[in-house]
């Protein structure tokens, strides 16, 4: 049985006071992982001995020190595009098979400093490029609610691990929805923070201007706790903001009065699965009864968001992934000359979807195409940002489905990248605008989870979490899947 219960705060409290030891918590986690991991395949590198050693060290700390740790002994799963000194980091790619980073990502360090114990790295679409976790060279991850379906992506391993109960907390990254869509598909909570809220130092960059690290957890409270720990300025990331971090947990249950929520028509129209729409609208109906007012709004540039995203993200990716050249680390396919070495290494080291995006991005930035593609996409990005600014003049938050569909069947989109790209239709706008967005479970349809997404103004994570808490109260959640 999973050792994970629904309150990380409670678990950490028991470790702090010595009611349970970190060792027993970590050990039972691994025991459970051994049992369910073969069915879910959420995880990549893990080292039980090392994790146990860290748990032992934590248990040996004097009570006075242990009591200060917000995540004392809490097992944590880390998406495998966050580098770690203790465990290999592959980004789901052959080109980094067996790669060991000389340093640890800032977010992981912060979590560890608060007593979290990294039990495993989690599976992902290669370099974060995908919406199903099928594009991992280490094989796909299964949705714990239905093994024949995808867990979403690219943080599918993190989402599935939390939903399966392998760990109560996971770190993911979100470039176009990679935390929120898998959180929705796996029936858990995930937040993409405001751009600059969380350090990207040690996150293997996919699209630097869109990437943010964020937490995935079973409840809003757990999510808030991990977000609290990883937020704040990092001198090693020039794009991380010097903004003070509010106390998310303390705010959580403050009542929300007179909340005005914008319901953009563009997110409830064509392309959104009728069942998904029904579940989400049902939640909105219940929130109305709680006194939340719903305002229909227009966000006219939404229709261009996916196109702009699939120009900008690959453009940045083509540049960010250039460092994987076989010279200093990772895979090197030897050749008689330099150019061939580059070509062979990158052709053999990167999967189809990654090469597709690198080629696309290279094209987008090429002389003669830059203005037509990159510059125009940046204009769309500015317009989308303006859509949100206008919306927030009228409403406090915007609500949408987290994904346009229910978790789809494994392999069903393998040959249709365009259809796959449309999975991001609800989520990419928040990345393009740099805004925080939270996905919380909205309910179930045919036994499959549906998520509802809340997008707020910059630095409104506290408000999003409070709304998420409210949604938790009005949504009836079934028991976690028995694996």
């Amino acid at each position: 049985m999973s050792p994970v219960d629904d309150s990380v705060k409670g678990m950490a409290e028991r470790v702090k006071t010595g009611q349970i030891s970190a060792q027993s918590l970590v050990s039972s986690c691994f025991q459970y992982i051994r049992q369910v991991e073969p069915k879910v395949h959420a995880l990549l590198a893990h080292d039980e001995e090392l994790a146990m050693e860290k748990a032992r060290a934590l248990d040996r700390l004097p009570l006075s020190e242990r009591r200060e740790l917000r995540l004392a002994g809490i097992p944590l799963v880390v998406k495998d595009n966050l580098v770690t000194e203790d465990l290999d980091t592959t980004a789901g790619s052959r080109i980094l098979e067996g790669f060991r980073s000389p340093y640890t990502a800032s977010v992981v360090k912060r979590a560890e400093e608060q007593g979290a114990i990294v039990v495993a790295k989690s599976n992902l679409d290669e370099f974060g490029m995908g919406s199903s976790t099928e594009h991992s060279v280490y094989g796909p991850t299964m949705n714990p609610w239905d093994f024949s379906r995808v867990p979403g992506g690219s943080s599918g391993g993190s989402a599935a691990a939390v939903a399966a109960g392998m760990a109560p907390l996971a770190l993911g990254s979100d470039t176009g929805g990679s935390i929120r869509q898998p959180a929705a598909f796996c029936g858990i909570v995930g937040i993409k923070p405001t751009y600059g809220r969380v350090s990207r130092y040690g996150l293997i960059a996919y699209a630097s201007s869109l990437d943010q690290v964020g937490p995935l957890a079973r409840t809003v409270e757990d999510t808030a706790l991990l977000l609290q720990v990883i937020s704040g300025h990092d001198p090693l990331d020039a794009t991380s903001a010097q903004m003070p971090v509010p106390d998310y947990l303390a705010q959580l249950d403050r009542p929300l009065q007179g909340l005005r929520v914008g319901v953009p028509r563009e997110y409830f129209g064509d392309g959104i699965d009728a069942n998904v729409k029904m579940v989400v609208e049902d939640v909105l109906e219940r929130l109305k009864q709680e006194g939340v007012s719903m305002v229909e709004i227009d966000m006219p540039h939404t229709q261009y968001a996916v196109a702009a995203y699939y120009l900008l993200a690959p453009a940045e990716a083509s540049s960010n992934l250039s460092r994987f050249d076989g010279v200093r680390y990772g895979l090197r396919v030897p050749a008689g000359d330099l150019r061939t070495l580059y070509q062979r290494t990158r052709a053999q080291g990167m999967g189809d979807e990654v090469r597709r995006r690198v080629l696309l991005g290279t094209h987008v930035l090429s002389a003669g195409y830059y203005d037509q593609y990159y510059v125009r996409a940046q204009k769309v990005r500015a317009l989308i940002r303006r859509d949100f600014e206008r919306a927030f003049e009228q409403v406090d938050l915007v609500v949408t489905p987290s994904a346009p569909e229910l978790p789809f069947a494994l392999g069903s989109r393998a040959d249709d990248p365009m259809k796959m790209y449309l999975s991001d239709i609800c989520t990419v706008t928040a990345n393009l605008a740099g805004l925080p967005a939270l996905s919380v479970p909205a309910g179930f349809e045919s036994g499959l989870p549906v998520g509802i997404q809340w997008i707020g103004p910059a630095w409104s994570e506290d408000l999003l979490l409070r709304v998420g808490r409210m949604v938790e109260r009005v949504v009836v959640r079934p028991p976690w899947p028995k694996l």
Binding site: N81, L82, V83, T89, A91, L96, F99, S101, P102, Y103, A105, R200, Y201, G202, L203, I204, A205, A207, S208, S209, P235, L236, D237, A238, T239, A315, E316, S318, S319, S322, R323, F324, D325, V327, R328, Y329, L338, Y342, T362, L365, S366, A367, Y370, Y374
Partner: protein, 485 residues
């Protein structure tokens, strides 16, 4: 057909910061390979650049000193190409919004003052180095990558194509280096690569009316001294004129310079040039400079060569003296300190450029390293001005100051070198010399000017050089005058 020579220069200058442009690694030349590296400059996965503010300060100083407009808003871009010395496979540089534009450097060419305009200055990071194994590049058995230099801060100073000869190019570089040397922003050592120059050379037919940009341009890369930049340009002018004379066209290309043979050679044709796919660097926020910070930086800038030229000219120095002085900021620094203690600037510069310079050169020292400090030189010169010692004694004393480190005052005492300028003491000597050399006295009276010099020399000899020549001169004239009447 006659042609006009068109030369533009791109100069890379490494900034003298403690650490690299985007990480905390030491910015140091000549260490063991790959000892100044970290995840950032090795481009390890997940590493991010953070801008070194000290580098910004040095770069902006250079921009102000080169009379540029400094932009308070600029940004960084990625210049992308694959090469093993470029770990990220892109160089962080500034593309369409450099931090500085529209400056200039004044040169004197053919006796005329001329302005060479600077189009732009941008900040960027240096690449690493490849060390090829084996006898030659063609027969190389392998290459070793050294990334100590990767990420070292650079500024690239791009001139307008305003120079019309190799000589102007040399003068531009000399003046550019002089200006930068006053700021202490770089070592400016071309042989170590802390200053590097690429020369763009083209020939413009006299009747050509199109844009200079459209002329087929040859870029000679990485020439390692100012002299060689001149040689490379001269060679290119000759080579291109010959081709044109033979009816051949000039190919737009990049060439190297072979120092030993004094020739340029083709490296690659620009017609197959890279597409660098520049785009804004998303890992760095735009570079925003505070205008009051800029004003403070401007105010704190030292006096630059042109201002010194004006000042020294107004003090009556010759053009030659001025040029020698302003080329070396340590001389100017020395002069400036000394000028705070004396008004005898002419004497000061004469002594600096003659005896001081000789004594320093003999020891391989610069003015900055001189054991004789400005105050000590001024003390010595004051002794001459007071008549306590003669110029010749001063030379001897200065040599001794270099050797023993004693002050002029100490040496005058120790060597017993005080000058005799007491009329009463010298009158006796003068009388004796006149008495002994009746024939010479006659010569003097018959109008032979040289006779007086001989008599002065005799008095000097009797006093072992300590007599004041001026006083002896006066006393002799008095004595001889009276003996006639």
């Amino acid at each position: 057909m006659p042609y006009q020579v068109v030369v533009g220069l791109e100069v890379h200058v490494e900034l003298k910061t403690k650490t690299k442009l985007f990480c905390q690694c030491a910015n140091a030349f000549g260490s063991e390979p790959n000892t100044h590296t970290c995840p950032v400059c090795l481009a390890m996965p997940g590493a991010l650049p953070v801008l070194n503010q000290a580098a910004v300060e040095l770069a902006v100083k250079a921009g102000i000193a080169l009379q540029c407009t400094i932009h308070c808003h600029s940004k960084f871009d990625r210049k992308q190409y694959f090469y093993p010395d470029l770990p990220k496979a892109y160089q962080i540089s500034q593309y369409d919004l450099p931090f500085a534009e529209w400056g200039h450097v004044n040169i004197v060419a053919d006796g005329q003052r001329k302005q060479v305009r600077i189009r732009r200055i941008h900040m960027e990071e240096d690449a690493g180095k490849l060390n090829h194994l084996g006898q030659s590049l063609e027969q190389s058995e392998g290459s070793l990558v050294d990334l100590n230099r990767a990420g070292v801060p650079l500024i690239e100073i791009v001139s307008e194509p305003d120079m019309t000869s190799a000589d102007e190019a040399r003068r531009y570089l000399t003046e550019l280096r002089a200006v930068l040397s006053y700021l202490d922003v770089s070592d400016l050592r071309m042989e170590e690569g802390s200053m590097r120059c690429d020369a763009n050379v083209s020939l413009k037919p006299e009747d050509y009316t199109g844009s200079l940009e459209d002329l087929p341009r040859v870029e000679v890369k990485n020439v390692n001294s100012i002299r060689n930049v001149g040689r490379a340009i001269e060679y290119e002018i000759e080579r291109q004129s010959e081709r044109l004379a033979q009816g051949q066209r000039i190919i737009k290309e990049t060439r190297g310079f072979d120092d030993a043979r004094g020739r340029t050679y083709s490296q690659r044709s620009k017609e197959e040039a890279n597409d660098y796919r520049y785009f804004p660097e998303p890992d760095l926020p735009p570079l925003v400079l505070d205008s009051s910070w800029l004003a403070r930086l401007q105010a704190a800038l030292p006096m630059l060569p042109d201002a010194w030229r004006e000042r020294l000219e107004s003090l009556g120095l010759s053009a030659n003296e001025i040029e020698v002085l302003v080329q070396d900021p340590s001389q100017i620094q020395f002069l400036q300190e000394a000028m705070e203690m004396t008004t005898e600037v002419r004497a000061l510069t004469r002594w600096m450029l003659a005896d001081m310079l000789r004594l320093l050169n003999e020891r391989g020292l610069s003015f900055a390293q001189s054991p004789v400090r400005p105050a000590q030189l001024v003390e010595l010169l004051n002794f001459i001005a007071d008549g306590r010692i003669s110029g010749r004694m001063a030379k001897e004393i200065l040599e001794n100051m270099f050797v023993s480190g004693e002050s002029a005052g100490q040496l005058v005492d120790r060597l017993g070198m005080a000058q005799i300028s007491d009329d009463a003491v010298l009158r006796g000597q003068v009388a004796e010399v006149i008495a002994e050399h009746g024939k010479v006295v006659d010569d003097y009276h018959s109008g032979k000017e040289r006779a007086l010099g001989f008599l002065v020399g005799q008095v000097m000899k009797r006093t072992r050089g300590q007599a004041s020549p001026e006083v002896v001169n006066r006393l002799l004239k008095e004595a001889l005058g009276s003996s006639v009447s």
